[in-house]
Amino acid sequence: MKNARKLMSLILAPTLIVSVLAGCSASSSSTTAATTTAGTTAATTTAAATEAVTTPAETTAEAGTSAEAGTSANQAYDGTVYKIACDAAYAPFSIQLEAGTTAPGKVVTTANDMGDYYGIDVELLDAIAEYEGFQYELTPMDFSAIIPALISGTIDGSIAGMNITDERKEKVDFSDGYYASGSALVVNKDNTDISSFEDLNGKVAACKEGTTGMTWSQDNADKYGFTVTVYPDSASMMLAVANGQADFLIEDYPVISYQINIGEQADLKVAIDAIGEVPQNGFAVAKGKNATLLAMFNEGLAAIRENGTYDKIIAEFISD
């Protein structure tokens, strides 16, 4: 009996050690896998960037005629192909075309259009470049990488749904604001009793962890008398309001408006479209560099605002 027990422990001990070791090696191998995936993603982004290079070709064709239209800012333009970044994924500002999807205002005709970008930022830039007659190469990249890339000179400019803030102004020069992008208060489409902040008394707010909406809700809960619930992701937050488990939510106005517009959030509607300060989005270049590009952007922006192109582009994505 005693021997049997000894034998048992002799067998069990190595088994345990082996399984622990196996556990360790399994976890390390999964880390490697993750790294590989990250690598692949980077590769994909590069591919998308390469494909985006096709755009300047068309622009070049029209460059001559636009320049003749006579703009003052492009007098100094020397024909450089600017590298301009957009956010890799930030609907409705920049959206990558996927197989089988159609973009508003953009018809997918060939396989070449797949992986191409559209969205407010992309179309505005395209319209401005066409008006001013400069060439560019669209470089979609991760939002957090954009300012470092501007500073290092990897890219010349960026149009990435970036809010103009004082902190960023220390690193980059901004154009005039091209879009006012604030937070909206969103309610269930059947809701009729919320139209101002005073109506929030006794209501339940849903917000997403770590967003400006959460900060605003927590700071104003006592003032307006509502309770705050926090969800880990946008989908749950929106579901809670659609189900009636919460009365309202706070989300970036262009983002939620676009989702309602394309029918993704048909149970929701915007009750108040501007909460607190409404920051402007700006086109950015590295501080003190590319002044010509910035001047052309500003001039082109003013021009397309005047000739109606601007409103047409915004209306494709945002319904008022």
């Binding site: 962890e209 959460m214 927590q218 619930t229 926090v230 009636g244 488990q245």
Partner: protein
């Protein structure tokens, strides 16, 4: 290091508020789960085919679904607007724990030699008398460690309910972190609070176990 933890008093009230919710959900949820578990266990040892199957399917389904999915499915898909958040959270935790409870009860009862039931029956006790007087008192002692295990497990599982916006201890810490980015500090406070509560529970269960095991040393 001392300086580093001096901040903790500032966050303690809200963290304790979260702990209160964690404890309410865990205690009420487990109490409900015990009732449900007893019922399910009775089903599964009843010897009646239909009841056994019902218990079997329930246990398989509930144990086979991650609590996170159960919570999201129940709260957003089934309960929707019919219940408040707190009762919903309690029910979800109870459903999850009841399947494990049923198995703990069944294992405890079946650990007692069937010969004892036969002996009791031959002495003229009815099935229920034999259960109540002979089997259950012994089975209960065997179950205590597993029951405590399940209670601790469910107490920590409440953290998963933050997915449906339950503002329990973990969520409270996460929300504070979202504003001040002090992840290391706040998660360590939360971890210490969980640790203290669970250490107390473990001590308590050891005491109960010792009280009941008068026959063993």
């Amino acid at each position: 290091m001392l300086d580093y933890f001096s901040d903790c008093w500032k966050y303690l009230p809200s963290l304790l508020g979260g702990l209160k919710l964690t404890l309410i959900i865990a205690v009420v949820g487990i109490a409900l789960a015990i009732v449900l578990g007893i019922l399910l266990c009775a089903f599964s040892i009843s010897g009646i085919f239909v009841l056994e199957k019902i218990a079997g399917i329930y246990i398989t389904v509930v144990r086979g679904i991650p609590l996170m999915i159960l919570a999201l499915f129940m709260y957003f898909g089934v309960i929707k607007n019919s219940l408040d958040l707190l009762p919903s959270a309690i029910i979800i935790l109870a459903i999850n724990a009841s399947a494990y409870m049923a198995e703990i009860f069944r294992a405890g009862i079946q650990a007692i030699d069937f010969g004892q039931t036969e002996a009791a029956r031959s002495l003229g006790l009815s099935y229920f008398q034999a259960m109540y007087k002979i089997i259950l008192p012994q089975a209960f002692k065997i179950m205590i460690p597993s029951l405590m295990n399940q209670f601790i497990s469910s107490l920590k599982d409440t953290a998963i309910l933050s997915a449906i916006s339950v503002n329990e201890l973990t969520m409270t810490a996460k929300v504070i972190i979202a504003r001040n980015y002090n992840a290391f500090e706040l998660y360590s406070y939360a971890a210490i609070i969980y640790l203290i509560v669970i250490a107390l529970l473990t001590y308590l269960s050891k005491r109960v176990e010792r009280k009941l095991s008068y026959d063993k040393r």
